[in-house]
């Protein structure tokens, strides 16, 4: 009966696909997940890693929080987070190390057709905007910072992260440092109780909302503003200068802390002191979280050594500043702790 034939053929085909699916590839797969902040840089590493060692790097930007959870649950080989692990997260991760492997900045993006790029902004005003207290682009506070610029009376549409994000941690860390009101009402974290705004998933989601909504303001890794031709602010640092999130600004901020914490390797370079005149105040390191005992220890060591040395050369065109030497030394020492 021909119909039974078709049926059997279909089942056989399904089983054949299933069989092919169980065939092992020749590449070693290294799976990681987490920060969307570092995702553009990691994406550049996939192909050279494949050529250098034959590794197939699979990375998914699910947010720093997701990366920490995933590596804790050992559903991935490594996690990536811009927010440093807390003591609780370290103990939950059971023998994980935290290694700073990239350095960049969070740009504050805006969409104002007809208005120039690099408008001036300062911390307290930014906090008021994101708390919903300043609602219009031609508010006096914004006009004061940008004398001579014609600002429209468009409503400010806020875009923030809906997922647990290290970029949110960096942004709210900065806002808590410059605004006592923000610190007491909202605080800093991978997610906060945003009083207003639309939530986007991942840095792409925020960039998407900003690029599609005239009058929008949002925050994302500066690499996303480049890729999508979005405008961003020059932020007033403690020295009173309006700094941009370029390599100079990031390096200026990084100079303020080159000693990773001896226990956790974390570094804080947000809102650096006055003497760092060129510093962009919302810069941050981003970390890779790896279990010290992993079935892929040898591959991970090779991958991470490559990432913190050769991998850094892929950074500058995406506005990732290569990590400074003192930090590199600590990073390499920590990588050797990954055994099998």
């Amino acid at each position: 009966m021909p119909k039974t034939g078709i049926f059997i053929a279909a089942v056989v085909a399904a089983l054949a696909v299933a069989g092919a699916a169980t065939a092992k590839p020749s590449d070693t797969v290294i799976q990681g997940a987490g920060s969307t902040f570092v995702a553009p840089l990691v994406a550049q590493w996939v192909s050279p890693l494949g050529s250098a060692y034959g590794y197939s790097l699979q990375y998914s930007g699910i947010g720093s929080g997701g990366g920490v959870s995933a590596v804790t649950a050992r559903t991935v080989d490594f996690g990536a987070s811009d927010a440093p692990l807390t003591a609780d997260q370290f103990s939950a991760c059971k023998g994980c190390v935290q290694i700073p492997w990239a350095l960049s900045a969070t740009a504050v993006l805006y969409n104002l057709p007809g208005v120039k790029n690099l408008l001036h902004m300062d911390g307290p005003t930014l906090a008021k905007i994101f708390m919903g207290q300043i609602t219009s682009w031609n508010d006096p506070a914004i006009k004061k910072l940008n004398k001579g610029v014609a600002l429209p009376d468009t409503k400010i549409a806020i875009a923030h992260r809906s997922d647990n994000s290290g970029t949110t941690y960096n942004f709210t860390d900065y806002l808590s440092a410059v605004s006592p009101a923000w610190k007491s009402q909202l605080g800093k974290g991978v997610a906060v109780n945003w009083p207003v705004g639309t939530g986007g998933r991942g840095s792409s989601g925020v960039a998407a909302i900003v690029s599609q909504t005239p009058g929008a303001i949002g925050y994302a890794d500066v690499a996303y503003s480049l890729a999508n031709h979005l405008k961003f602010f020059a932020m007033k640092n403690r020295a009173g200068k309006f700094a941009t999130p370029g390599l100079k600004g990031i390096l200026g901020a990084a100079s303020s802390d080159v000693k990773p914490d001896p226990k956790t390797n974390e570094l804080s370079i947000v809102n650096p002191p006055t003497k760092f005149k060129l510093a962009y105040p919302i810069s941050t390191y981003t970390y890779v979280i790896v279990p010290t005992s992993s079935p892929k220890a040898a591959e991970l060591r090779k991958f991470l050594f490559w990432a913190v040395t050769k991998g850094q050369s892929y950074g500058p065109k995406l506005l990732f500043q290569p990590i400074p030497r003192p930090v590199l030394v600590v990073a390499e020492k920590t990588i050797t702790k990954i055994k099998g």
Partner: protein
Amino acid sequence: MALHGITRADMAAVNLPRRKAVNRLMEGLTWLAAIVGVALLVIIVWSVARRAWGALNLDLFTKDQVLFAIGPVHQGLRNAFVGSLVLVGLATAMALPVGILIAIYLTEYARPWIRSSVSLVLDVLNGIPAIVVAIFVFGLFVVGHGQSGYAGAFALACLMLPLVARSVMEVLLLVPSSLREASLGLGVPRWRTVLAIVLPQAMGGIITGAVLAIARIAGETAPLLFTSSIVGTQISWDASHALQSIPVAIFELSESPDPADHSRAWAGAFVLLMFILLLSLSARWLAARSRRRISTSR
């Protein structure tokens, strides 16, 4: 004739012009509803087709995704198409045999109370939201082991199972009992009757049911969201690691700021839609054919 003592003449006398007007209004609204219903479908499919047009090229099927491409790069959705093929194939391989066995048990062996209880359980399974199935499979297979194509396929299979079981059951019940009687009366053992006589007779309906179930899960995103979403961009047939799929790819691309990503999302959506429509139409055609066969063979 009269109803409750009211004659036709009485009815006609009562306010006929107004009643006729109300009737015309309602008929108009009903026509409007139908037009809106059809228009919605046409608008959506047309939207997808129009926006997919620019990105429907050979690259879509021959090149893999490239994330965060700097400058214009030739890319496509090949890794997602392949991944979807593997996931749907595995899910079908998992759900189809089990579904058929359940249907056989319920129609040939089960006592009435068992049949109604298991049917109820299958209906419950059918009503569980896909996102809850995703949480379940995540907790069962992904925690501690990592995502994999198998976990994703299993989640899809959980959604397929009640559809397959129910449709095969309906078809088996349509097979005339006289056929079973005759076979058993000739001394053919029950198991052979079921497998060699009843099942082939129901084959058209079984295929229809399977095709419809495949059409249903081919576009499912939620079950794959936590089980097979941390993927690389290279083409892969290996289900022991997570595989990219078209629905998840569309989901991710839809939230991107890049218009080129949107075009690819539309293209993927168009291909997915055409695939599902093709399956549904084939199922409909197969069903009509087997209905004609059964009615002529009676």
